[in-house]
Symmetry: C2
Subunit: 340 residues, 2 copies
């Protein structure tokens, strides 16, 4: 099978944790042993947790020798895991191949650099999607090459770069996405997503968002809570985008402790935040200016007898995830037309 | 990686040729070498051509020894390929593992049985999704077991059975699917699919369909040709489902040589055919009774400022295929509500 085939497995795995790694990038890694057998397909899952390469190395070693599981289970953090791997790997990954969607880091962060880990495992070859141009982390490919590891760059480059887009945007100031739930025939289902997996995913995103924006009409109609209770997460601060200044304070979202709420007829304050989530329906999407980066569409498995959201907009579908009986479409807005 | 992982690769590959194998079932096969490296991921592509196992065996051998490519290229049909493989395999697939979505056939068809091929290759293990209950082909798993090959049955059984559903239905009399093109926001785009890959796929299906059903309103409005010119294929016979009995004979579909056209206010004649394709829009789907087995949705990548198709219907999404900048959703109707 081709390098593109194996890197695609890493890309798909990384998408499972897209945005959930905030403020880190979504990264996936696949390891093949010296005979070309797939040992692991892993991703970076959450900031503060192990990088994709560390997760994949752990799983690959465990698949070679299951007795390592109990040894690695003793690690209390990624740094300890890194050290346990260095001490116990017994060259089990000698001549392995690593596939990584992003150039392995070359800096000491919460763990020692992934490039050093890969070298220590005795990998023969590293296949990389996107290059890391970050001041701190860059240089992993060069380090590996200088130490005799064969490195191939820019494989599936477009798809790996798309995976990095939110990270690059929030690093440079702001990433904003619009979340909408639609049926198969384009009916916006408002705040209600019937699928538990999708709702849990929404709550994960809310718990990470620096700011959540919601339209005044949605607040009045849906009377939402807009918290992250399904994962016992932090409820995000809220910007209510509305020309109205007074709302019924019995609406649940106003009664969350330690939540900041701003009401504004301008959406500009949102774009000063790094990671912004917008939830709304048709009118909100229609009235938004073109500054939304991505649109996340939760699509249910049913046709509903009601009118669709009615607007012109072209999207590039970057990825599809299955969520229970529905799907999540990760879309990049290509243009946004506004209909009177 | 798990058996489910590898069988999923075979399932996904088989879906690429779903319905296109008519009257044969869609089948996929994956081969791992003795070290667990993936050698090939193949499918049965078309009736009369090689079975999935034969295609996968050919590709696996070629990946082990590329000089076999020129030898196998001389085969003029699957039977010759089978014989060339038997003569030239040099035990390169000794101790391999086969993953097949359907139990390998045990009968002499256009080729000798796949079960014998797998045994001849010296496979160690065969992992099977669905069992073959067909009178002629069944017995492959038993044959392999009796000859010392380890066989595992019923892996990913539900997904493999879904893959077989059209085959089982047309074998027992009739399989009918409804094809519709929708935008992201549920607008039916009528006969026009902008995406060349999707249009080509439609023409492949038309060329195989025993009968194509189209609504009278669509005939008058779209004035379609309904042929398979993109693949230089046979134009299907047509049933125009309409209470009208007179149509403008200048409409292109009436001017295809050797095409039978029936006009009827009953759709019943369609269900006497084995493989029926229905193309239509909202009203047709709404007015159809519940005898449609599957709905194929070609979904474009745009939102369009127009009304959606407006009906209640719950579907199970069996598979998604990417088609250029759009997608094809393979859906099974779970219920069909009719709105006044
Ligand atoms: Zn790293
Ligand atoms: Zn066969």
């Amino acid at each position: 099978m081709s390098d593109e085939f194996y890197l695609s497995l890493a890309i798909n795995k990384a998408w499972d944790y897209q945005l959930l790694t905030y403020p880190n990038p979504a990264v996936g890694a696949v390891i093949l042993d010296e005979n070309g057998k797939i040992l692991s397909i892993c991703a970076h899952q959450k900031a503060g947790e192990a990088h994709a390469e560390l997760n994949a190395t752990k799983e690959a070693l465990e698949s070679k020798d299951s007795s390592l599981k109990s040894i690695f289970a003793a690690a209390k953090n990624p740094n300890e895991l890194y050290n346990l791997i260095i001490q116990n790997h017994r060259n089990l990954l000698k001549n392995s191949t690593y596939y990584v969607t992003l150039e392995p880091c070359a800096h000491q962060g919460k763990t020692p650099p992934c490039a050093s880990l890969i070298l220590a495992m005795g990998a023969k070859r590293v296949v990389i999607g996107s290059r890391d141009y970050g001041e701190h982390a860059k240089g992993g490919a060069e380090f590996l090459t200088q130490n005799g590891v064969e490195v191939k760059l820019d494989v599936c480059k477009t798809r790996c770069d798309e995976l990095l887009e939110p990270f690059l945007r929030w690093q440079s100031g702001n990433f904003t996405f619009f979340k909408i739930a639609l049926t198969q025939n384009g009916v916006a289902t408002g705040g209600v997503i019937s699928n538990l997996a999708s709702r849990t995913h929404t709550h994960r995103l809310r718990a990470l968002a620096e700011l959540m924006v919601v339209g005044g009409a949605t607040v009045c109609t849906d009377r939402p809570t807009l918290d992250a209770r399904l994962i016992s997460g932090r409820a995000p601060d809220i910007l209510i985008y509305s020309s109205k200044t007074e709302f019924d304070l019995q609406i649940p979202l106003f009664n969350i402790p330690n939540r900041k709420i701003e009401i504004s007829n301008s959406i500009e304050p949102a774009f000063k935040k790094r990671f912004v989530m917008i939830e709304g329906g048709e009118n909100f999407l229609r009235n938004l200016d073109s500054r939304v980066d991505w649109i996340l569409i939760y699509r249910s498995n049913e046709f509903k007898s009601a009118n669709n959201i009615n607007l012109d907009m072209k999207v590039k579908i970057l990825h599809r995830s299955i969520f229970g009986d529905g799907e999540l479409l990760w879309c990049k807005r290509l243009d946004l037309g506004i209909n009177a």
